[in-house]
C-alpha cells in the first residue's frame, strides 16, 4: 500500500554567517493514513526541522515529500501545526482564537462556523468561548490550541513537544485528552517528543533518529491496545518492554 505521507531522501542544511549546519541527511519516513507516528531523537538532532519541512515552512535542500501521491503544496491548510506553547493570542477570545485559521484562509462558510461550534461543544469549551486565554488553565489552553488547528480539517497534524510546557500533574490528563481527540477525529498525526514514555503510550509507530545530521535509525511498531487511553496503555507489561527497547535504540548512539 502506498503511504499517505512520504518523505524520501530529505536533506536539509542550515546556512548562517557562522557556517553551514547539516541538520537532516537522507531522511525517509512513511506515514499511513490515520496513523499516529512519534519521532524521538537526541536533542538538537533535527526533529523540529522535519516538522517545519512537512509544514511547508522550510524548503528541503534535496529530497521529495508527497501527500496522497502528490507533491506537497506549501502554504495550505492541509497541515496543522501545534507547538510546545499554546501560542493563543491574548487579545482574542477563545472563540476568536479558534477561528484564526478560518480568518486567514478567508473562510466564512457556514459549514466551517458549524465545525467551530461543534468542536467547542464536543470538547467542553462552549462555556469559555467568550473568555480570554489567561482565564483558562494550561491544559485547557492546549486543548484550545489543538482545536484551533482541527477547525481547518488538516490532513496531517504536527505536534512539536506539545506537552513540554505542562506540569507533571496536568500532563497525563492532557495526553489522554489530546490522544482521545486525535483518535476521535481520525487525523494522521506526527508527534515530536523528548519523552519516550509519551511516544510509546501515544503512538502507533515510533521513528528513532540519530544524532545530527539526523537519519532514521530505526522504526518501532507499537503493538499496544489502541482502544484504551494512553494512561491505561502504560499499565500493559508490553509497554515497559517497548520503552526499554526504544531506550536502548537511543542509547546505542
Amino acid at each position: 500500500m502506498q503511504p499517505y505521507l512520504k518523505l524520501s531522501n530529505i536533506c536539509l542544511n542550515y546556512h548562517s554567517k557562522q557556517g553551514e549546519t547539516m541538520a537532516l541527511k537522507n531522511v525517509n519516513i512513511d506515514v499511513a493514513k490515520q496513523e499516529f507516528v512519534a519521532i524521538v531523537g537526541p536533542s538538537g538532532c533535527g526533529k523540529t526541522t522535519i516538522l517545519s519541512i512537512i509544514a511547508g515552512i522550510l524548503k528541503p535542500s534535496s529530497g521529495t515529500i508527497t501527500l496522497d501521491g502528490k507533491p506537497l503544496a506549501t502554504n495550505t491548510r492541509e497541515i496543522g501545526y501545534m507547538f510546545q506553547r499554546d501560542h493563543l493570542f491574548g487579545w482574542r477570545t477563545i472563540q476568536k482564537n479558534v477561528e484564526l485559521g478560518l480568518e486567514i484562509s478567508k473562510d466564512k462558510s457556514p459549514e466551517s462556523k458549524q465545525i467551530v461550534q461543534d468542536l467547542l461543544k464536543k470538547y467542553g469549551l462552549t462555556d469559555f468561548a467568550n473568555q480570554y486565554p489567561h482565564q483558562l488553565s494550561g491544559g485547557m489552553r492546549q486543548r484550545v490550541a489543538l482545536i484551533r488547528t482541527l477547525v481547518l480539517r488538516p490532513k496531517i497534524l504536527l505536534l512539536d513537544e506539545p506537552f513540554g510546557a505542562l506540569d507533571y500533574q496536568t500532563r497525563q490528563t492532557v495526553i489522554d485528552d489530546v490522544s482521545d481527540i486525535i483518535r476521535n477525529e481520525k487525523i494522521t498525526s506526527i508527534l515530536v517528543t523528548h519523552d519516550i514514555n509519551e511516544a510509546v503510550c501515544m503512538a502507533d509507530k515510533i521513528i528513532v533518529l540519530s544524532h545530527r545530521p539526523a537519519t532514521v535509525r530505526n522504526v518501532v511498531m507499537v503493538d499496544l491496545d489502541k482502544t484504551v487511553s494512553p494512561s491505561k496503555r502504560k499499565k500493559d507489561k508490553r509497554f515497559t518492554e517497548l520503552l526499554n527497547f526504544v531506550w536502548k535504540e537511543l542509547d546505542s548512539e
Binding site: S52, N75, F83, H87, F89, G90, W91, L100, L158
Partner: protein, 269 residues
C-alpha cells in the same frame, strides 16, 4: 453579597492599613503644594523675596486673569496646543508607518540602519536654523522641529516592538497559510499595542519639548513665545503664568494617554 463579610479580621486590618497609607500619601502631597504656595506668597508679601524677580502666586493668578480678559490666553494656548498635537500626531503616525515598512522589508531595514542610528544620536534641535530657512519661520517650522524630535524615537521603538514579536507565533500563522499582511494585521500590530502606548506616553512629553524649543527659536505667538517675551521685558509674572499653563496642559495630555492605556490594557486582560 457584601465582600467585607467574607474577609478575615486580619485581612480587614490589612485593608484598613492600606487605605490609611493611601490617605496619608495624598494628604502629604496636597500639604506640600499648599505649604509651597503659601510660603511663596507670604515671603513675597513680607518682602523677604523680591516679587519682581520671583513673582508670586497671587501675581501669577492676576496675570492669567488679565490674559484671559484680553483673549490672549486662548490665543496663545491654542497655538501651542495646535502645534504640539499636530507634531505629535504626524510623527507618531508616520513613524509607525515607517516602522511597519522597515519590519516588512528586512533588506530596507539593513540598508537604512546606519542612517537611523546617526539621526537618533543627532540633537534634533541643532537642525532648528536649517528648518526655519527651509520651511519658513512660523507655525510650520515649529511643527517640523517637534516632528523631527519625535520621529526617530518612534521609528526605533515601534520597529523594536514589531521585531520582538514571538517567532513561533509567526510560524504558527505561516503554517496556517497566512501572508505577510495577515501576519502584520492579526499578530504583529495587536501584540505591539502595549509598546505603542508607551511610545505615545514618551511622545506626549517630547512633543511639548519640541514645540517649546521651536517657539524659543522662532515664533510670534504661543506659550513658548510668551515665556521668551516675558523674560526679555523682565515680566516674570508672565513667564511663570505661561509655565504654569504649560504644566497643566502637558499633564492633561499625559493623563489622556494614561487613561487610554488603562482602557486598552483592561480590554486585553
Amino acid at each position: 453579597m457584601n465582600k467585607k463579610l467574607m474577609y478575615s479580621e486580619e485581612h480587614l486590618k490589612y485593608l484598613r492599613k492600606e487605605k490609611k497609607d493611601k490617605v496619608f500619601v495624598l494628604v502629604c502631597q496636597i500639604a506640600i503644594l499648599v505649604v509651597f504656595i503659601a510660603l511663596w506668597e507670604l515671603l513675597g508679601y513680607f518682602g523677604v523675596i523680591n516679587t519682581f524677580i520671583m513673582s508670586s502666586p497671587s501675581r501669577i493668578i492676576n496675570t492669567i486673569a488679565e490674559l484671559y480678559a484680553s483673549g490672549d490666553l486662548w490665543y496663545h494656548t491654542a497655538i501651542t496646543l495646535y502645534e504640539t498635537v499636530l507634531g505629535f500626531a504626524i510623527a507618531t503616525i508616520l513613524g509607525t508607518l515607517i516602522a511597519i515598512l522597515l519590519w516588512w522589508s528586512e533588506k530596507l531595514r539593513r540598508i537604512l540602519d546606519p542612517y537611523i542610528v546617526v539621526l537618533n544620536s543627532l540633537p534634533k534641535i541643532a537642525l532648528g536654523p536649517i528648518v526655519i530657512i527651509w520651511v519658513g519661520a512660523g507655525i510650520q517650522s515649529i511643527v517640523t522641529i517637534c516632528f523631527l524630535i519625535l520621529i526617530v524615537v518612534t521609528i526605533i521603538s515601534m520597529l523594536n516592538a514589531f521585531r520582538e514579536c514571538d517567532k513561533d507565533k509567526i510560524l504558527l500563522m505561516k503554517s496556517m497559510g497566512a501572508n505577510t499582511l495577515q501576519i502584520l494585521w492579526k499578530l504583529v500590530l495587536p501584540s505591539s499595542i502595549p509598546q505603542f502606548i508607551s511610545v505615545l506616553k514618551i511622545n506626549v512629553g517630547l512633543s511639548w519639548v519640541g514645540t517649546i524649543m521651536g517657539e524659543y527659536l522662532v515664533s510670534s505667538a504661543g506659550l513658548g513665545y510668551l515665556i521668551v517675551y516675558g523674560s526679555q521685558v523682565f515680566q516674570l509674572d508672565l513667564v511663570m503664568a505661561s509655565t504654569l499653563i504649560l504644566c497643566v496642559l502637558a499633564s492633561v495630555m499625559y493623563l489622556l494617554v494614561a487613561l487610554l492605556e488603562k482602557r486598552v490594557l483592561k480590554s486585553r486582560h
